[in-house]
Amino acid sequence: DQQVKQNSPSLSVQEGRISILNCDYTNSMFDYFLWYKKYPAEGPTFLISISSIKDKNEDGRFTVFLNKSAKHLSLHIVPSQPGDSAVYFCAASVEGDKYIFGTGTRLKVLA
């Protein structure tokens, strides 16, 4: 039972445009959500997070939106840069328990 889903395995975006990565979850008890970025042969690195009491968190070019009623999370990258090309994982946790990860979306930003 996959509680965190990223239904798009890949996404290609032109440099300078907006990248939107989506994540859906099934467990309404999740209270903390994170996005990680992963380059080949490296571990995931933390990008941005959001608590369930918020619906938006912004950090520079990265914004995470949370829609609790739809159990949907999205990451917006504006403007997209070639260095953003990586695999993006969303993750969720409940009450300090383990992180549960989605299967990732491979973003390719075209120059």
Binding site: D31, G43, T45, F46, V87, K98, Y99, F101
Partner: protein
């Protein structure tokens, strides 16, 4: 300085062997984890330790045994390796657990069982 370091980066071994992967964090975090990324790229938690105490043990075969000599180290020992154990194993740490804090990951250990 590397925050979470794991060794070795690559490990190729034969079926039936016993091997260990070491992990160390210099962040002063209380909680450490082992994750497995399988061929489908799915990152799944295996174990979680808080201050040397096991707090999460997912449905992992008994052949996998974590050892935490102190809160900065969490090693993973695997007995009687099987072909299906081939995967990338990531160590991670977080300050207090997953509640409101992010985890920092090591670079991964690619284990290949032949």
């Amino acid at each position: 300085d590397t925050a979470v370091s794991q060794t070795p980066k690559y490990l190729v071994t034969q079926m039936g062997n016993d091997k260990s992967i070491k992990c160390e964090q210099n962040l002063g975090h209380d909680t450490m984890y082992w994750y497995k990324q399988d061929s489908k790229k799915f990152l799944k938690i295996m174990f979680s330790y808080n201050n040397k105490e096991l707090i999460i043990n997912e449905t992992v075969p008994n052949r996998f045994s974590p050892k935490s000599p102190d809160k900065a180290h969490l090693n993973l020992h695997i007995n009687s390796l099987e072909l299906g154990d081939s995967a990338v194993y990531f160590c991670a740490s977080s300050l207090y657990g997953t509640g409101g804090t992010e985890a920092f990951f090591g670079q991964g250990t690619r284990l290949t069982v032949v």
